[in-house]
C-alpha cells in the first residue's frame, strides 16, 4: 500500500486555480522530488497535503495516508500531521519562534507526539543526529547561522519519528557549501530511518542528488513524472527539456579574448565598519574587505566568487562608488578614487546591475524615467537626444522602446533584468559590475539573460566584473576567477584550471559542494562528508 496517495488535488484562491488537479503517490521510504519554477504550485501542493494552506485558499480532491483519508477535524488532522509527517521550510529564520530557545522548540515537538512512538527520542539525541552541538540548543534562532537553523528545523521535524518528511526548498536560503551539507544530511537521514521524502525544489541538480523519482510541475499541473534518470536525462516534455537545458551552461569560449590595457586597479582596499558594544564602547571593527588588490583589463570578464558574507558585495559597492574604502585606493582608467568620491565624469563609465530585478526600479516611476536617471551624469548631453539614447539601450537588450512608458509591475522578472541591464548601458559605460545577475531569476530565463550579457560584451567591448556564488555560471562566463574568503582574495586563475585543480581550502570546498551535472553518473551515496 502506498504511504501517500494524492488524487485530483485542486487548490483555489477564489476563482484562480493554483493547483490544477494533480495526482501522485509515494511508497514507504521512497524519495520523490517535485520540481517547478516560482508560481508552479509546488509549495501549495505540499501545504495542501498537510492541511496548512494559507487563509483564502481552498482545496478539493482526495489525500490518503496509508490508504485512509485524512481526518476532517482540525485537531485530529493536526495530531496526525505531527506524528506522521515532518516538515522543513525554506526560510529557517522566520520558521523558528524568535522568542523560544531551540531546545524548547524541539522538546515541544517531542512532548506533543510522545504517545505515538515507543522509543522516545530526547533533544540531545536529535541535536546530535542533525549535526548540532548541545550548546546550540540553548540558543535562540537569531544566534545561529542559516545552516544551523535549518538543522534545528530538521531536528524538530524528526522529533516524532515521522514516516514522511516534506522539505520545501530547504536549501535555497543557504549558501553553496551549507546547501550541499544540508542536502547530504537530508538524504542521509531518510536513508537511515527509511523515511519517505517529498522534496520540493526549483533546483534540478539538488533533486537529482537526493531523490529517486521526480515530478515536474508547471502552472499547477504535473507535466512529467518518472525516475530521476528518465526525466532528467531524457526528458519527454518540452517544458522539462527547457528546464534541463537551462540548468546546463554552455562551456566557456575557449579562445582568449584580446585584452586591452588595465582598466580598473584595486590597490590594497580595506573596508572597516566601526562597531560599539551595548555601552557605546568601541570594539574591534568589522572588516568585510581586508587589503584586497586586483586589476581588470579592458575587455576582460572577471568573476568574484565566495560564500555569502565573504565581502564580495562590499567590494563591489566600493568599486562603483556606493561605499568608501577605509584604506587603499582604486584607479579607473588611471584616475584614483576611494569610493564615494568617484568623480561624476567617471561614474558614467562604471555601471552596476543589481541582483533583484523586482526592487531595482521605483514602482512609481515609468521605466523611461528610471532609465533616463543615469543620463544625469552627462550634463553636456542635449535633452533632445535622451529618447534616442533610451531607445538605443532598450533595443540593445532586445526589448521594444515602446515599453519605456510602462511601469515596472507590468514586466516579468526576466524582462526587468533586461531593463536593468539597459539602464546600466544608457551612459555607454566601459565597466559593468554585475551583482549575482541571474540568481533571482527563474531557471528557464537565466540562460537568455546570460546569453544577452555575453552578446553585449562582445558587441560593445565591455568589461565585466561578475559577483556570484554560482560556479557553473562563472565557469561559463568568465576569463578569470577570483575566490574571496573573509575579506581576502585567496586564489585566482582561469576557471578551467582553478576548478579542476583548486589549491586553496575554500576553493576546494566550493568545488566539492558543486552538485554534479545532470548527465554525470548518479551516485547518491557519494555525498561529501562535512
Amino acid at each position: 500500500m502506498s504511504l501517500l496517495e494524492v488524487k485530483d488535488l485542486v487548490v483555489r484562491f477564489g476563482d484562480a486555480v493554483a493547483v490544477d488537479g494533480i495526482s501522485l503517490t509515494l511508497q514507504p521510504g521512497e524519495r520523490l522530488g517535485i520540481i517547478g519554477e516560482s508560481g508552479s504550485g509546488k509549495t501549495l501542493t505540499a501545504l495542501a497535503i498537510t492541511d496548512l494552506l494559507p487563509e483564502g485558499a481552498s482545496r478539493s480532491g482526495t489525500i490518503l495516508l496509508d490508504g485512509a483519508p485524512m481526518p476532517t477535524s482540525e485537531r485530529a488532522m493536526a495530531r496526525l500531521r505531527g506524528q506522521r509527517i515532518g516538515m522543513v521550510f525554506q526560510e529557517p529564520m522566520t520558521a523558528l519562534n524568535p522568542l523560544m530557545r531551540i531546545n524548547d522548540q524541539i522538546a515541544e515537538a517531542i512532548e506533543l507526539n510522545s504517545q505515538h512512538v515507543s522509543a522516545q527520542l530526547d533533544t540531545p539525541q536529535l541535536l546530535t543526529e542533525v549535526g548540532l552541538e548541545q550548546k546550540h540548543g540553548d540558543r535562540y534562532a537569531h544566534q545561529l547561522s542559516g545552516g544551523q537553523r535549518q538543522r534545528a528545523m530538521i531536528a524538530m521535524a524528526l522529533a516524532s519519528q515521522p514516516d514522511l518528511l516534506i522539505a520545501d526548498e530547504p536549501t535555497s536560503a543557504l549558501d553553496l557549501i551549507t546547501q550541499r551539507l544540508v542536502l547530504a544530511l537530508i538524504a542521509d537521514i531518510c536513508a537511515r530511518r527509511r523515511m519517505a521524502l517529498l522534496f520540493i525544489s526549483h533546483d534540478l541538480k539538488a533533486v537529482a542528488q537526493v531523490c529517486t523519482r521526480v515530478a515536474v510541475m508547471h502552472s499547477g499541473r504535473i507535466v512529467e513524472t518518472g525516475s530521476v534518470e528518465q526525466v532528467l536525462r531524457a526528458p519527454q516534455q518540452d517544458y522539462t527539456r527547457r528546464l534541463v537545458s537551462a540548468s546546463r551552461f554552455a562551456p566557456a569560449a575557449t579562445e582568449l579574448r584580446p585584452l586591452g590595457e588595465t582598466l580598473l586597479q584595486v590597490k590594497g582596499v580595506t573596508r572597516d565598519y566601526h562597531r560599539r558594544n551595548a555601552l557605546f564602547w568601541p570594539i574591534a571593527p568589522l572588516r568585510p574587505v581586508n587589503d584586497v588588490s586586483l586589476s581588470i583589463a579592458s575587455g576582460e570578464v572577471v568573476a568574484l566568487v565566495g560564500p555569502s558574507g565573504c565581502g564580495k558585495t562590499t567590494l563591489a559597492k566600493v568599486i562603483v562608488g556606493l561605499d568608501s574604502a577605509s584604506a587603499g585606493s582604486i584607479a579607473f582608467a588611471g584616475q584614483s578614487y576611494r569610493g564615494r568620491d568617484l568623480p561624476k565624469a567617471l561614474r558614467r563609465d562604471i555601471s552596476l546591475v543589481f541582483q533583484d530585478p523586482f526592487s531595482s526600479f521605483d514602482p512609481r516611476m515609468s521605466i523611461g524615467a528610471s532609465l533616463s536617471e543615469p543620463l544625469h551624469l552627462e550634463p553636456a548631453l542635449d535633452r533632445a537626444l535622451t529618447p534616442a539614447r533610451l531607445a538605443e539601450a532598450v533595443s540593445a537588450v532586445g526589448l521594444d522602446p515602446a515599453m519605456l512608458d510602462r511601469y515596472p509591475h507590468e514586466f516579468s522578472g526576466g524582462q526587468r533584468q533586461r531593463l536593468a541591464i539597459a539602464r546600466a548601458l544608457v551612459t555607454r559605460p566601459r565597466l559593468l559590475v554585475l551583482d549575482e545577475p541571474v540568481s533571482a531569476l527563474d531557471v528557464s530565463v537565466r540562460g537568455e539573460v546570460l546569453e544577452l550579457l555575453a552578446r553585449l560584451q562582445a558587441q560593445f567591448g565591455l568589461t565585466y566584473l561578475i559577483i556570484s556564488h554560482d560556479l557553473d555560471m562563472v565557469a561559463a562566463m568568465a576569463d578569470r576567477v577570483l575566490v574571496m574568503e573573509a575579506g581576502r582574495i585567496v586564489e585566482q586563475g582561469r576557471p578551467g584550471e582553478i576548478f579542476a585543480h583548486p589549491l586553496h581550502r575554500l576553493t576546494q570546498e566550493l568545488v566539492a559542494a558543486r552538485l554534479p551535472e545532470l548527465d554525470a553518473p548518479s551516485d547518491p551515496d557519494a555525498t561529501p562528508a562535512g
Partner: protein
C-alpha cells in the same frame, strides 16, 4: 539580520543589564534636557515673581529684598543648577501662592492622580487584551465584528465626556456611586476607592478599545507568520499554536503601546479629574497657571515628564526581557 553564531555565549542577564544601563543614560539625558527646556521657557516669561507676591503696591526696596531672598538675582545657570540640585534632594521650592513646599503639594495630589492612572491601566488591560485575543481567534466571525465595532466606537469617545455620561447614569440616575469629590485615603480608603471608580472607568474605555485593536492586529499578524505554520506542522491546531507561540510574540507591539499608554493616562487624568472635581495634579496646575505660580508649574510639569519617561524606560527594559534579539545591542 542574523547574529553571528558566537553571539549566544554571553550571559543574557549581563546583556540585559548593559541594555538597561544604556536606556538609563538616555532616560537621564531626556529628563535633564526636559528640565532645561521647562526652565528656559518659564524663565523667559515677563513678570517678576517677587513683584507678583508682594502686589503692585510694594516698594522697590522690598521687592529687591524678596528677589535676593528668593535667589532671583543669581545668573540663570546658577538658578537652574540650584533647582536641579534641590529636586535631587526632594526640594522643589516653595509655592508662593499656596505658601507651601511644592514637593508636598505635588505629593498630596499624586495620591489621587497615580492611583487613578494605575486603576485605569489595570481596567483597560483586563478588558482590552482578552477582547482583542478573542476577536483575533474568531476572526471574521460575528463576535469579532461586534468587538471591533465596540472598539471603533470606544476609541472615538472623549474620556472626559464618557465620564460625564457615567455620572449621569451611575450617580444621578442609579445613585450607586458619588458624582464627584474625593475622600482622602487616610480618612476612608473605601470611600476613596469608590470615588476613583467612575473616573478610572472613564479613562479606561478608550485605552481598552485601543488595546483590543492592537492586540487583535498583532495576533492576526503573528498568525500569518512562518513559525506559527511550523508549530502547526509539529501537531498543534491553529488555536493551540497561537496560544503557545503567537501570544508572546503578539505582546511585543502591545508592550510598546502599554508604555505609552500609562504615560498618557497620567496626562489624561488632568482632563478627567475636572469632571469629577477630584483634587489631582490637573487642578493644582490649572490654579497655578491662573495665579502665575511658576515654581509650582515648573515642579508639576517635571513630575509629569518624569512619570512619562520612567514608564517608557520600564517598557524598554520589559521589551528586552521578553525579546532576546533586543539584548544584543540591536536598535529597535
Amino acid at each position: 539580520m542574523g547574529g553571528g553564531p558566537e553571539g549566544g555565549d554571553t550571559a543574557p542577564s549581563r546583556a540585559v543589564i548593559a541594555y538597561a544601563l544604556r536606556r538609563l543614560i538616555g532616560f537621564a539625558v531626556t529628563l535633564l534636557v526636559a528640565a532645561l527646556v521647562i526652565f528656559v521657557l518659564l524663565d523667559l516669561l515677563p513678570g517678576d515673581p517677587a513683584q507678583f507676591i508682594l502686589g503692585i503696591n510694594a516698594t522697590p526696596a522690598s521687592v529687591a529684598q524678596l528677589r535676593l531672598q528668593m535667589g532671583l538675582d543669581a545668573p540663570a545657570y546658577q538658578r537652574f543648577l540650584g533647582w536641579l540640585g534641590g529636586m535631587l534632594q526632594g526640594d522643589f521650592g516653595m509655592s508662593y501662592t499656596q505658601r507651601a513646599p511644592v514637593a508636598q503639594l505635588i505629593w498630596d495630589r499624586l495620591g489621587v492622580t497615580l492611583p487613578l492612572a494605575v486603576f485605569a491601566m489595570v481596567i483597560s488591560m483586563v478588558v482590552g487584551l482578552p477582547l482583542g485575543l478573542l476577536a483575533a481567534r474568531r476572526r471574521g466571525k460575528a463576535i469579532d465584528t461586534t468587538i471591533m465595532v465596540l472598539a471603533q466606537t470606544g476609541v472615538a469617545i472623549p474620556n472626559f465626556w464618557f465620564g460625564m455620561l457615567l455620572v449621569l447614569v451611575f450617580a444621578v440616575g442609579l445613585r450607586w456611586l458619588p458624582p464627584g469629590g474625593f475622600t482622602p485615603w487616610i480618612e476612608d480608603s473605601g470611600l476613596a476607592l469608590r470615588g476613583l471608580l467612575l473616573p478610572s472607568l472613564a479613562l479606561a474605555l478608550p485605552q481598552a478599545s485601543i488595546l483590543a485593536r492592537v492586540m487583535r492586529t498583532a495576533l492576526v499578524d503573528v498568525a500569518g507568520q512562518d513559525f506559527i505554520r511550523t508549530a502547526r506542522a509539529k501537531g498543534l491546531t491553529m488555536d493551540e499554536a497561537l496560544w503557545r507561540h503567537g501570544v508572546r510574540n503578539a505582546l511585543l507591539p502591545v508592550l510598546t503601546i502599554l508604555g505609552l499608554q500609562f504615560a498618557y493616562l497620567v496626562a489624561g487624568t488632568i482632563v478627567v479629574e475636572n469632571v469629577f472635581y477630584l483634587p489631582g495634579l490637573g487642578k493644582l496646575i490649572y490654579t497655578a497657571i491662573l495665579e502665575r505660580d511658576l515654581i509650582l508649574v515648573r515642579g508639576a510639569t517635571i513630575i509629569l515628564i518624569l512619570a512619562v519617561t520612567s514608564t517608557m524606560l520600564l517598557t524598554d527594559i520589559a521589551y528586552a526581557l521578553v525579546d532576546p534579539r533586543l539584548r544584543e545591542g540591536a536598535q529597535r
